[in-house]
């Protein structure tokens, strides 16, 4: 499942509810999760808040493409991707990527693949509110 969220979410409660809804109990031996959170400090400056802009339609489609690629590459039993858009505060979760697999190697590989592809190519843009003024984040760091 892929979701864009306009309000704050708790990644652990999302995982609990989503996993509980899955009809694959006893089938998965490995769940790998990544959660990206908003830090209050970036590039040497205090960050007070952030706005996450996206391209409605293209962003969802691109996330879908990434997950489909991962499904081609690894035996995923299920996956969950949630990404915030709009106004965000420090400590808020920005992104959640989770995959359920029979074995651990594919879970580790697939969750990292989805995150790296998302950071490299999914159309989202961060604008930071600093102590004085705002600035667009210019690029993501390669992992």
């Amino acid at each position: 499942m892929i979701q864009l969220r306009e309000s704050r979410f708790d990644p652990w409660l999302e995982l609990q509810a989503y996993q509980d809804s899955l009809a694959i109990k006893g089938k998965y031996g490995a769940t790998a999760v990544f959660v990206g959170s908003m830090r209050d400090f970036n590039e040497g400056d205090e960050v007070r808040a952030m706005t996450l802009e996206h391209y409605p339609g293209m962003t969802e489609q691109y996330l879908d493409k990434i997950v489909h690629e991962a499904v081609q590459k690894w035996p995923l039993l299920d996956s969950l991707v949630i990404h915030r858009v709009g106004d965000i505060l420090p400590d808020d979760s920005i992104v959640l990527v989770a995959v359920w697999c029979a074995h651990r190697a594919s879970a580790f590989d697939a969750s990292r693949y989805i995150m790296e592809e998302l950071k490299s190519n999914a159309p989202f843009w961060k604008k930071e509110t600093l102590t004085e003024g705002t600035r667009w984040v210019e690029k993501n760091t390669p992992s």
């Binding site: 996450l52 489609q61 992104v95 989202f124 667009w136």
Partner: protein, 77 residues
């Protein structure tokens, strides 16, 4: 030939608008669309382009009714 052009993030702010609707000639490309909307400003090397919500190169052809978008490097996640 009617084309919708969208701008996002810092580029939207630089353009001072979120979109344009242009009438282009018969055959055109993404870079020709850029020339039309930018009034001669060269396309920055890091600007990304899409047609109908799929990434394309600047040389890609554009057809009637297409939605072309220009935006800076992505910074999600």
């Amino acid at each position: 030939m009617s084309i919708t052009v969208l701008y996002f993030a810092s580029l939207r702010e630089q353009m001072g608008r979120a979109d344009d609707h242009i009438e282009a000639g018969t055959a055109t490309t993404v870079s020709e669309v850029w020339s039309r909307i930018s009034e001669g400003v060269e396309m920055p090397a890091n600007i990304l382009c899409s047609i109908n919500k799929e990434y394309v190169d600047a040389g890609h052809s554009v057809k009637d009714g297409d939605e072309v978008a220009f935006f800076p490097p992505v910074t999600g996640g």
